[in-house]
């Protein structure tokens, strides 16, 4: 047994042998790391990184979806299925599984084996792979913690801190892991604000992929509108929700080259878990919506909700179908919107409504699990009010601009 002095002596001996003392010379890596956390230089760098993120996402997803998968599904899969499906074109089974017999593409058909598979494999899969690939590279390179530091001041205005960027960015992939990631926030208030904001204002990767297909030229405006809403609602919630918002203490790792093996493993893990969860919901969503159409429930709801949809939000009453589908899968709902006749501005409003309206069922379950019944009810109350006001505001903007 060593005495305290003997221990210290031993420590000194070991440290003399193992540690090299001298003046630390600032390396280029250190200087680059400083640049990315200082607001004056860090914000332009963040803009460049986010541009790279988005440009890669669009090019990668576009390559697979527009380059090959649209052709595979529209030119080969859909006509083949329409021809060989064993049940008559007037039967309800045909309607549920193949959809519209006159459809010329998988977006319009809306059958489980046509639109369902196309949305899940043709659109969502490339988008999700692209999203997670870039996210993992940013994580493993050490940029993400720097982004957290950079955005800390802004997020404090809405009761959160820099680490809230992790669930926010994760939510751009899928809201489900993002809800779990809210655990890194210290207080109940912070977790409630974060979960409510991500459930309402952050579109998931699948939804972004579909948006790029359906409204490519206006997707930037939709995201900007959602981003503004994210901060407005966050600011209001921070003012009315009691509780504390502590400061951020964060250990920033040095920049390093991501390891290919780790990137591959993480990508596989995230994509496969997302996919096993998403595909059943997409397919189930198509079945449920088709059954509701067949039984006349959608028509009944469309007529009943017509004053709200057409009068308040300024969108066609037919959007009630996609809004129901949105509860199961939001990407599916956006895809369904593309088949409805409407103006560009109505389409933007509809896509915003689908985004901010009820979270998908998987997120709903996560909200309940992470926030409890009270938290879920609170989030839903904020959501209903936000949809009503924010959707109406967008309609008002179109009226003022004279395009409604």
């Amino acid at each position: 047994m060593l005495s305290v002095d003997e221990r210290w002596n031993l420590i000194e001996k070991i440290s003399k042998k193992t540690i090299k003392f001298g003046k630390y010379r600032h390396t280029l890596k250190d200087a680059l790391a400083e640049i990315t956390v200082k607001p004056l230089t860090g914000i332009p760098v963040a803009i460049a990184v986010l541009y790279g993120f988005w440009a890669f996402f669009g090019a990668f997803a576009g390559f697979f979806t527009d380059g090959f998968l649209v052709k595979l599904f529209d030119v080969h899969w859909l006509p083949w299925l329409q021809e060989v499906f064993p049940v008559g074109k007037n039967s309800w089974l045909y309607y549920i599984f193949v959809g519209d017999p006159l459809a010329e593409n998988c977006f319009e058909a809306f059958g489980m084996l046509t639109s369902g598979l196309f949305v899940a494999i043709g659109v969502v899969l490339p988008a999700i792979v692209a999203f997670y690939l870039v996210l993992i590279v940013l994580e493993d390179s050490g940029y993400l913690p720097r982004l957290a530091v950079l955005i800390d001041t802004v997020l404090h205005k809405i009761g959160l801190h820099g680490y809230a960027i992790v669930p926010s960015i994760l939510s751009l992939g899928c809201n489900v892991p993002a809800c779990t990631a809210c655990r890194i926030l210290e207080t109940k208030k912070q977790r409630f604000i974060m979960m409510t904001l991500l459930a309402i204002f952050i579109p998931c990767g699948a939804q972004l992929g579909i948006m790029l297909e359906v409204i490519p030229e206006t997707v930037g405006w939709v995201i900007l509108y959602l981003l503004i809403g994210y901060f407005i609602l966050g600011f209001i919630l921070n003012k009315i929700i009691p509780g504390k918002s502590p400061e951020l203490l964060l250990d920033i790792p040095p920049y390093q080259k991501p390891m290919l093996g780790n990137v591959g493993r993480k990508l596989w893990m995230r994509t496969s878990s997302f996919f096993t969860m998403a595909v059943p919901f997409v397919l189930l969503g198509v079945i449920v919506v088709n059954v509701l159409y067949l039984t006349g429930v959608i028509d009944w709801l469309a007529t009943g909700l017509s004053p709200l949809l057409s009068g308040w939000f300024g969108v066609p009453k037919e959007t009630v179908g996609p809004l129901i589908a949105a509860f199961l899968r939001k990407d599916l709902a956006v895809a369904q919107l593309s088949a409805i006749q409407m103006t560009k501005y109505q389409m933007i409003t509809s896509v915003v409504l689908v985004s901010i309206y009820f979270p998908c069922v998987a997120t709903f379950v996560m909200l309940l699990r992470e926030g409890g019944g009270k938290g879920l009810l609170g989030s839903l109350a904020a959501l209903v009010l936000t949809v009503f006001l924010y959707g109406g505001l967008l309609h008002l903007i179109w009226i003022v601009l004279g395009v409604a």
Binding site: T27, T41, P44, V45, I47, A48, G52, A55
Partner: protein, 145 residues
Amino acid sequence: MKNIFGSLYFSIFGLFVLGLGIAELIIGITGRSFTWSILEISGEFLLWRGLILFFAGLFYLSSVKNLAEIHHLAKNVMASVMIWIIAGMQIFATITESIPGGEEGGWINTWEDFLSTYSPPYIPSLILLPFSLVTIYYIYARKKT
């Protein structure tokens, strides 16, 4: 001597980058497009690209005072990285666009169409890309000292 050359080179280059950034911003705001010889200022994300080039130009100009100093060199490197991000993504997008056969064609593009995807005009960042690579020399020169 090499730092004087570097300062002079990046002063001129920084002004070019800044100018092209401002041009992209103006054309992006007015919603027009501009083509001159192999240069084309148009396309997706024009405002964003302009904003990034604008900041990259400022970074270059603020780095020229003393390129041998690590913090100035870091700004220079970061400016080049910003150009590499835009140019790299443009190259990646061109490659992904050149391979598939298009809506009416086959699965893979024809040789002529494949090659024509790579023909000019190019966005400003692509033209600036080779000139920004000079930064790599200064990174290695610093490593040697």
